[in-house]
Symmetry: C2
Subunit: 698 residues, 2 copies
């Protein structure tokens, strides 16, 4: 399950720093399936040539309205006119956990609401449907023209916040700006929001993630990684006339497939220096820190059923991250791929150098990047642990930070606020802060004590923040004290503070609030320095590189992923692994043979009971050469007629390098086949209510 | 505590593969303190010039006989004529753990034997004193001349085993061959062995490792990382006339210091391709696997006092490894240092290329290395997890492998055996196998289940060995079954099997023996392939490079560390860290100020009680620019007169890059000052018996 946006899998308090920021697409000849294309610049002619399908405006418009974004970091698609949403099971783990209790572990039991009334609200979930797109590049250029790096950076962010607010005031849609090609194009994307999202159906975890971490990112594969949600409006199922019919037969080998969804982020346009920074610093640190967390979680899970329930899916999430980072690190060590990257960069720079005008306009970008990275190197550890929250983990801690920073930022004029608290972002901030999500104290304790320990380890016991936070206490003692004293688990208390604003938050004696207040000035100073001395010059340099690329190569390339709507084209296709052909389909029968009865190769009782009733020749999962990444989880896989043939849930092991480059000979998307979903709903789950609701075509 | 040889800190069943194998010392101008010099090629003139000391044969002979090797991976020095050995506390953790019980945690309480009778035998410990050295390079050259890579490799190993046996038959000493400069020189080193080693004194862990992992590899530092052992002969303290007097005042800033000891291994002579392999594959894997193990151990330690006692020091060992690998990985990402390495390699190759005779003799070495590494890449994971034991961890499992492989190898003629079971190695194999070491079942369970889980993760659930070992069982189930059924915890049972030989081992129904028997053929095939296709060509190539270096640069350089006796020269000296001078001495007083009362900054009760009796101005630890590495732990630091001024126990953070290169501006050794040891023995421990035994000079 690679295909949840990484911020979804391993949430940190704020989004990752914008080092993922610069631009240089390989100017290669079009390859079969490379690219996550925007709908406003869709390469219809190239698609026609590559996969033989005629994709027109009507097709694009239809899949746009039938595809949804799960704002936690996934994609889904409407499966009926009554707001039914198909997505991955792993995209609903948070909801399943929130709805489980000591008595009822829905992850283990699965969930099926026999009627609308039984559909259960997912706390804090939001679904967005992209309705309109409007380019605002010129307005942004105007706002930043002639300014210094830091001033331009501020002006750009102010203009984006202003344009978003104006957009929302002008209509009923929610507006988010999008930065494409790292400064090459700016857009306003306008969404219809659904804040009432309910769980309808989820199979048991053992079949949704059959094979667990060992099989994750591998193929062949046998996972029913699907769930159904439903969006409600005014307490009733929302009307969603633009939904996808399901094609029961799926797609055959070589048949064109399109993945429509919201890929989270890729780093294909980064400079070599930025990739080297990821390789030398970011990725090793992630691996070291989260591998230890994995060990702690696994060992804690063994202490009680309750502990296991709290961390079962979270462990899979951490393991997913580790597999991603491990393979990304390995791909950045691949001398051949890196040499290719370096050659492309050299070629572009040589072209610029040969043209005095281009050289003057854009030639300095790469050394500007290196200068910004040199500043970053002096502050990266403190930024990550303090401002980015690596040293203060847990849901309660996140809420404390939202309350302290959010109430202060709210006092400022919209255009001067940190972007995560701009006016148009506040509804989502509030929804997450005030949601009635249960708090798992055991897990919160583990996570906070662990992160405080890492804070001390990486910054050193003599760092002023470490000294002021821990004093003479151990991470475990401080954690116990904070969690025993805080009332933040109570949504009413959080609402009281949020509505009471700065005054209430400053006056609060809550120990987690006090901790956040204490660290906030240091965190804010780090943020300010980052914004002015790292983000600002990187933004200016990346804009230069984007313009240079447009000037030299034209506009026939795609932007890095930005968790906004994209279409990837490709076809059902296996690949060759160490000389052996990997067939693109798996079938139900093999899952029964592969099952050991022990996690993670244990089939749920429902499947064992239904074995005779199941057609064991049913296609289960399939591989295609579409180009996807985390965030595409739950994406509809559709055919040239716009019918659903599968739901994407993973990539093969080679797809992980897709963060940096696309290798069409090996990189594969892995999806659940429509036939598998229909057969399981029928023979295992008796979900006639849902089968009747779907529009199934032969 | 970097300075325990890594095989000691994180034991694997067999020694690490010999990728640590090739030769290219930088032909730089002599730097102040670089080099771990052999006694037979000691650079007396350079030392005179660098630190102003006249080091002659008598001085070398004296420190040679007064320095001991702790065969578990450390160094020590004789402190009296009655076999008293000073070493680091962390070099005695295994013994302290073995001597502890549920009722008595010696790690927490410390240990002091009030009389000889109370000195407690350390199970399986061995101390070796180097008595003689004999060069055998010509004999080895003769054995391998004109043979193919694989045949030469076998012939070389056969000749080494034969010469060792002949050497032992000719006298009373134990003989080990030593490969210096990776094939440049061969020696027989002849040792006096002591198999009866007893614990005399150990301070409490909280002061021995004050600051724990956060302070490890850092300076300033406040650790009493010392223990006393004693070697016995025929049940009586051994007579050791060559011991070191202690100089109470220690050494002053700038005064010459010599570290005499057994550095474990360095990789300074590796080719760039070999360093890249470490960076891309070995180090990331170690970090991922052992960070998870760290998390599991920490979380398990929290479940009971008994669990904590079993893993307390082992956690520090794992954390030490993680810090080493993390900083080694970072140093191999340092573009400046790597560029220097590449330039040196290019320069040597260019010199060879310019001389037809040298080119013909040695020019192919680097491409031979790359070819061997390409083979290695295809088999590294399986080799590490199966043959090198990464997938089968734990003391009981190690014993099972020793019994299965050892009894089989013992049947063969000496020269045909795997080297770890050659005739002269068997006494040590038996000592370790048959020692009355207690077995901690909880820890064994954690370690074996963890490693089987990693075996499946890294080789994949479909690997034939994974399939045959686990079948339909989970790692936890299989572990529980194996450990419930095995009798290997009983030394008498192990003896029965060892003495019963192949027949007894083949007939045994013990489940761990059965597991080892099942995997052994695959492991042995991997070993054979490694020996013939990786080790053999690397050995030939490294010999070429060593000869090329001698031809081009002469013999004024030092060989990589080989866990054999070396002397490093230097001086007491701080360094500059981010523009601030780090003073080379710390004092007792600051430890009391720094103490928080909480691990790892907790002072033991004995210290808190003795505070008023202690001279708080006593020098505690000090930094010097000697060049050391893991294995040097416990090394005597001596002055130009051959008097002890400290005991080396760590390096600063920059010393970790010392595996690959020596940066004299930053790389520092960290030692316990003689004055601190004397003052603590007097005022905290009332150890008059030992103070009387030492020969203290003002």
């Amino acid at each position: 399950m690679p295909t949840i946006a990484s911020r979804g899998t391993l949430p940190t308090r704020k989004l990752a720093p914008v080092l993922v920021a610069l631009a240089l697409v390989l100017p290669s000849a079009a390859r079969a399936a490379e690219g996550m294309w925007t709908l406003h610049d869709f390469p219809a002619a190239a698609v026609k040539e590559a996969v033989g399908a005629d994709i027109g405006a009507a097709w694009l418009d239809r899949v746009q309205r039938a595809t949804v974004r799960l704002d936690g970091g996934c994609t889904g698609s409407f499966a009926s006119p009554q707001g039914l949403v198909l997505t991955n099971n792993h995209c609903t783990w948070g909801c399943i956990r929130d709805l489980s209790t000591d008595e009822r572990n829905l992850s283990e039991e699965g969930f099926f609401a026999p009627s609308f009334e039984d559909e259960a609200v997912c706390p804090g979930a939001r679904v967005s449907v992209l309705e309109e797109m409007e380019e605002i590049t010129e307005a942004i250029r105007g706002a930043t023209a002639g300014k210094s790096d830091a001033a331009a950076n501020e002006a750009r962010k102010a203009a984006l916040s202003r344009l978003e607010s104006e957009c929302e005031e002008a209509g009923e849609l929610s507006c988010e700006s999008v930065d494409l090609y790292h400064g090459g194009q700016y857009y306003l994307y306008k969404y219809r929001r659904y804040d009432d999202v309910r769980l309808v159906f989820a199979p048991e975890l053992p079949i949704a993630a059959f094979g667990g971490d060992p099989d994750n990112f591998n193929f062949p594969r046998w996972d029913l990684d699907m769930s159904f949600l439903r969006v409600y409006e005014d307490g009733k199922p929302a009307a969603t006339p633009d939904f996808l019919p399901w094609k029961a037969a799926g797609a055959e080998i070589g048949e064109a497939t399109f993945v429509v969804g919201h890929p989270g982020s890729t780093d294909r346009l980064l400079t070599v220096a930025q990739l080297e920074e990821l390789r030398a610093s970011y990725l090793p640190q992630r691996l070291i820190v989260y591998s230890e967390l994995r060990g702690r979680m696994l060992q804690w899970a063994a202490t009680s059923d309750e502990a296991a329930r709290q961390v079962q899916q979270r462990i899979l999430g951490v393991e997913n991250g580790i597999k991603v980072w491990k393979n990304r690190l390995a791909s950045l060590m691949d001398p051949e791929q890196m040499a290719r990257k370096e050659a492309a960069e050299r070629a572009l720079r040589a072209t610029l150098a040969a043209d005095p005008q281009l050289a003057a306009a854009y030639g300095s970008a790469w050394s500007d990047v290196e200068a910004a990275l040199a500043v970053w190197a002096t502050m990266a550890e403190r930024y990550r642990f303090i401002e980015d929250g690596l040293g203060f983990q847990g849901t309660l801690t996140d809420w404390a930070w939202t309350l302290v920073r959010g109430t202060r930022e709210r006092e400022k004029p919209n255009e001067e606020r940190l972007r995560e608290f701009r006016e148009t972002a506040l509804p989502r901030v509030e929804q997450r802060l005030l949601a009635a999500s249960p708090v798992h104290v055991g897990y919160e304790t583990l996570r906070l004590a662990f992160s405080l320990d890492k804070l001390r380890e990486w910054l050193g016991p003599d760092d002023p923040v470490v000294q002021s936070v821990l004093g003479r206490q151990s991470p475990e003692e401080l954690t116990a004290e904070l969690l025993a004293g805080t009332r933040l688990a109570d949504p009413a208390f959080r609402r009281e503070l949020w509505e009471g604003g700065v005054e209430a938050v400053e006056a609060s004696g809550d120990p987690l609030i006090a901790l956040a207040r204490e660290v906030e000035p240091v965190a804010l100073a780090l943020r300010k320095r980052f914004d002015d001395e790292v983000e600002a010059p990187l933004a200016q340099a990346s804009e230069k590189i984007a313009k240079a690329r447009f000037a030299v190569y034209g506009k026939g390339t795609y932007p890095d992923a930005t968790f906004t709507l994209r279409v990837s084209y490709g076809a059902v296709r296996g690949w060759s692994e160490r000389g052996e052909e990997v067939h693109p389909f798996t079938h139900f029968g093999r899952a029964f043979e592969r099952a050991t009865g022990k996690d993670p190769f244990r089939l749920p009782a429902s499947w064992l009971a239904a074995r005779d009733a199941l057609d064991l020749d049913t296609r289960f999962n399939f591989a295609s050469d579409n180009d996807i990444i985390g965030g595409n989880s739950g994406s509809p896989v559709v055919d040239a007629e716009g019918r659903l043939v599968g739901v994407a849930f993973d990539g093969n092991i080679h797809s992980i390098a897709g963060a940096y480059w696309f290798d069409e000979t090996k990189n594969r998307t892995v999806s659940v086949h429509v036939a598998a979903m229909l057969e399981a709903l029928r023979a295992v789950y008796g979900a006639d209510r849902l089968l009747d609701e779907l529009q199934v075509v032969p």
